[in-house]
Structures are given as structure tokens and as C-alpha cells.
Amino acid sequence: MPALKGRASLAPMFERRLTLDEIRFLNARCFVLAFRSPEIAGAARPGQFLMLAASAGIEPLLRRPMAVYEVLTSAGEPEGFSVLVERTGRGTTLMSGLLAGDEVDVLGPLGNAFAPPADAASEAVLVMGGVGAAPFPLFAKALVRAGHATRAFIGGRTREHLLCTADFEALGVPATLATEDGSVGHHGLVTEPLAEYLDGCDRRVAVYSCGPTPMMRAVDGIAAARDLPHQVSLEAPMACGIGVCLSCVVPTVGEAGGWRYRRICREGPVFDARELLWEHPDD
């Protein structure tokens, strides 16, 4: 079947029933699902996501949005992809019970992608909390390949909640760790060493964040105060992933001082932080 035609500005998306190649647990709650699909792997860009069915039946009903974690290659060609999942509810708990060989309905890749820093001299600073780390190793790989200096700030409640540290290490990307319980790295929030680093940094920086909303909002305050560009990857419950259900909207800056809803699945998941309204305008 040929690639589904998208609008000219969008990459193709594929609706496929794929066989799970591998399920790999990172810790008690987080696991990686890997699939073989050269077409999805070839189309996927860092920051994009996929809709994955949690079961073969209609319980639970809706597919789950998951960031593309890895693009797996064979002889240099895209061969497969993986997603990084945290077990948080019914759907992800069912996914954690999948076995290699099981079939999973997958739609994607969906949404937009991270844009690299506008100028080649900028350092990309990636700030992540918990499972919000999922889209960043792929992005870091692209940045390193393109010659951008890249740095990671990884936060979580405990050592167990820090994800992807080995990925950044393998890429040679320096990573600063922070845990709220002090079990590893900085004892406190990831935004504290971030602010300290930016204050001591004399090069241009572009900030990227993905994680809990309070973290992203705090990162935005830090980036905005220093007039740094900041891209944010958002998530929300969504029914379709392609822009028709209108459930994943967020308030954003509109024309002439107004505001408008935009869809995380279609106009996002990556937004320029200057477009986002962290407080709902009706409040």
C-alpha cells in the first residue's frame, strides 16, 4: 500500500497493524515497545508521536498517544521504531502485558516535530521530567549529527523516575540530573540547576522542554526571563490523534490581542512557548 497522501506540508502517516518485536522494561513502571516498520521509521521526525491501541478489542476504547522514542536502523536504513511508556492507567497497564509477537494497531507518525536551533552556533538545552524524556534522545541524536552543542537536564521524583540517562551518555551529551528526594544528582527541582547553568553560560542557547506542566511552565519563566527561544512538547488525552475530535486543544495567542484554541495533535505537540497561554484566558 502506498503512503497515505498528506497535505503538502505534512509528512505521510500510516495506519498499520504491527507485530511487537520486543518489550523491554527500564524499571518497574517504564518499558519500551519496539516495532519493525521501515515506512513509519522512515517518516518519523523527533518530537512526533503515534497512536497505539492498548488492546485488540474495544476496551479500553481509545488509542494512546506516545512519542517516538527511537528510530531503529539496519545498515543505516530506518527499519523500526520504539515508544517509551510509563504505566499510569488502564491502557498503559495493558500495554505493559504485551508480549513479543503480539499485534498492535499503530497510526502515525503524527503531529509536528522539534525545530533545531535557528542558528548553528546555539546550544540546544533539553529539559525533561519523568517520561517527558521520551522524545529527546532521538532529537539529541539529530542535533549531535547536525553539529549542535547539546546538553540535557533530567528531572524526576526519585532515581527511578530519571529516564534516558544512558541514551544521552551514549551520544556524548552531558546530562545534569536532579531528583526531588536527592537519591541522585541535584537534590531538588531540575529547573534549579538549569537556571544556574544558563546564568553562567555565555553562548546562545535554545531551550526545549517536555514533562509535567508545572516544570514546563517554570522552564518557560526561566527561558523568557533570559529572552531565550523555547519549544515545548505538550500532551493531553486525545481520541483520534489526527485533528478531528477537537479534544486536545490548548489556549494559545491569537490575532489582534485575542486568543484561540489549537490542537496538540495537529498544530503541536511542539509549540513555541511564546504562543502558549499557561493560564486559561477565562480565569
Binding site: L61, D105, C240, V244
Partner: protein, 312 residues
């Protein structure tokens, strides 16, 4: 498979002919742009676009959906681009397809409905209008257009006067006797009835002790709706001879056949477009195969063939 004559899947909804009885329901496919990347809309009987109002509507604040056993709740708040932007920006793309385009319309007053219907009356590429009656009438103390027979009658009369295009009325399920509303629509000049819209429901976040939806309650849809929709269609069938379009919980061909046997001449697939976006086109193929296996050459021979106990 039995080698029989090829089945003509064409159906007539009043004066409007559809190439097959499978349509996509309003609110689940936008204006056909995104779903058109996944499904060949040329293969379907029709597409009912997201409910249009006179002016653009922003919709409700998030949280707008909640998953439930057997389905989902939504409280989108009828977000849409407005009828002008639809005609200008969305319809040209839909006109490229060889399928029927049905404009679902709504308003907050009787005059709003009439104005949207009048705006679409002469527009090429819109083949029918479907009245969405899930909104309260703000001029009549917030009584819902869909649950009060007088309101339903008034709004249908007004829309009827504003357009010569086929006029469908989409009935809501939360009423004591849906037959009364079906007859009110018939008397007001509706050409067909579609049923059912979502049914009200709510879900609670136990940890926070808050409703899951920002608007407290929302519209329940999905597979769990099927038996309710089938029964209400049965009641509507008894109440009026108008052509009927079955909606509610369709998740496979068997569900389509149940609606047809009860008496719907066509159906709309809704929530399934979210979790299984290619279901509609698969069901068209499966319906053709099923008819051939059962030596049904025209769907006229299937629609309304329900046999009741005691009727042999």
C-alpha cells in the same frame, strides 16, 4: 462465497441517493480534511461535517473528553469555523470527492438555524442539511430544541422555510417518548430523521473528587450506545414513515445490518472514526460481500425486514 449478482448498495434517503448506506457522523470527521488522508471518501455514501453555526464557535474549555467503559464522553462545545469559513475554506476540498456532503447545523435561537440553513441553501456541493438539536434555546429559557416537541417543531419549520435542500433532523435520546419528537419533525416538514445523538453522562475523578469533564456532564458515545440506538430507532420506525438514518455505537458490519433490518435506510459511523479510522471503508466492502452471500441484490430487500415474535 456464493456467486450471485453484484449487489447495488445504492440507497435513497428521500430524494437523495447515496452510493451506499455508510456515512461518517458529524463531529467525528471534522470537515473531511484529516480523515481524507486515511479513508478514500469516494467510497462512502456521505460525510456529515462538524456542526456549523452562524459565527465561529470556540467551544468548551478542556477537559473535553473522558474515556468510559464501552465508550467515551465528549464536551467539545460545538467548536467550529462558522458557516462562512466552511463555505469559503472547507467546502472546495470536499467538492473534489464523489460522495454526498451533509452539513450539520445548529444555533442558539430559531433565527440562527434559519440563517445558517438559508446561507447553505444555494451552495453547490452541500447535498442535505442535518439539524443538530442538542443546544438549548437561549430565547426560551434554555429549553433544549431536541427534547421539547414544540421547540423541535418550530426550529424545523424555520429551517424548512429557509432551504429547499433535503432536511434531516437528528434526534436526541434523552426523552420520554422519542416517537412524539419524530412526529413533530415529520409534521414540520423534515425529509428524514437521523438517530441518535449522544446521551448525557458524567464520570468522576476519584482522587481529585471532581468531574472528569470541565462542563461536568457530556455526550456519551461509542459501542455502549448500540442497543439504546437500535431500540430508539425501532420506536421511531413505529412512529413515522420518514426515511431513517441509524447512528450509535456502530463498530462492525453486524451493527450496520441491525440498523438496516430495523428500518434505517442508511447509517452513520461516529466514534469508531477516532479509534479505528478505516472501519467505514472496510464495512462498505464487507456489506457488499454479505449481500452477495445472502443473494440480496438491492438493499431495499433488507431494510425494514425485522421479524417480530408472533409474525412468523
Amino acid at each position: 462465497m456464493t456467486e450471485g449478482k453484484a449487489t447495488d448498495l445504492g440507497v435513497e434517503v428521500g430524494e437523495l441517493r447515496l452510493k451506499n448506506p455508510i456515512m461518517l457522523a458529524s463531529g467525528t470527521v471534522g470537515y473531511g480534511e484529516e480523515i481524507g488522508d486515511l479513508v478514500d471518501l469516494n467510497r462512502l455514501g456521505g460525510i456529515v461535517v462538524k456542526g456549523l453555526s452562524l459565527k465561529p464557535t470556540r467551544g468548551n474549555r478542556p477537559q473535553r473528553i473522558a474515556e468510559t467503559p464501552g465508550g467515551m464522553l465528549n464536551s467539545i462545545g460545538l467548536q467550529n469555523v462558522g458557516v462562512e469559513a466552511f463555505v469559503r475554506d472547507k467546502l472546495p476540498n470536499l467538492r473534489r470527492y464523489d460522495t454526498r456532503v451533509i452539513a450539520n447545523i445548529w444555533g442558539r435561537t430559531v433565527e440562527d438555524y434559519a440563517a445558517v440553513a438559508a446561507r447553505l441553501d444555494q451552495v453547490e456541493g452541500v447535498h442535505a442539511l442535518e439539524l443538530n438539536l442538542s443546544c438549548p434555546n437561549i430565547k426560551e429559557g434554555g429549553i433544549s430544541f431536541g427534547t421539547d416537541p414544540k421547540q423541535l417543531h418550530a426550529v424545523t419549520v424555520a429551517a424548512r422555510a429557509a432551504t429547499g435542500k433535503p432536511l434531516w433532523v437528528k434526534l436526541a435520546p434523552g426523552v420520554t417518548d422519542i416517537g412524539v419528537l419524530a412526529r413533530a419533525a415529520e409534521e414540520a416538514g423534515a425529509d428524514a430523521l437521523s438517530a441518535i445523538n449522544t446521551i448525557r453522562g458524567m464520570m468522576v475523578d476519584v482522587e481529585r473528587r471532581t468531574p472528569r469533564l470541565s462542563t461536568i456532564f457530556g455526550g456519551y458515545s461509542g459501542p455502549g450506545l448500540l442497543p439504546i440506538a437500535l431500540y430508539l430507532l425501532f420506536e421511531i420506525r413505529k412512529a413515522t414513515p420518514l426515511p431513517l438514518i441509524g447512528i450509535g455505537g456502530i463498530n462492525e458490519l453486524d451493527h450496520v445490518l441491525q440498523f438496516l433490518i430495523i428500518g434505517a435506510c442508511a447509517v452513520q459511523i461516529g466514534t469508531a472514526n477516532f479509534y479505528d479510522p478505516t472501519l467505514s471503508s472496510r464495512v462498505v466492502d464487507e456489506l457488499a460481500e454479505w449481500c452477495q452471500e445472502h443473494e440480496i441484490t438491492s438493499l431495499e430487500h433488507l431494510v425494514g425486514t425485522l421479524r417480530l415474535p408472533g409474525q412468523g
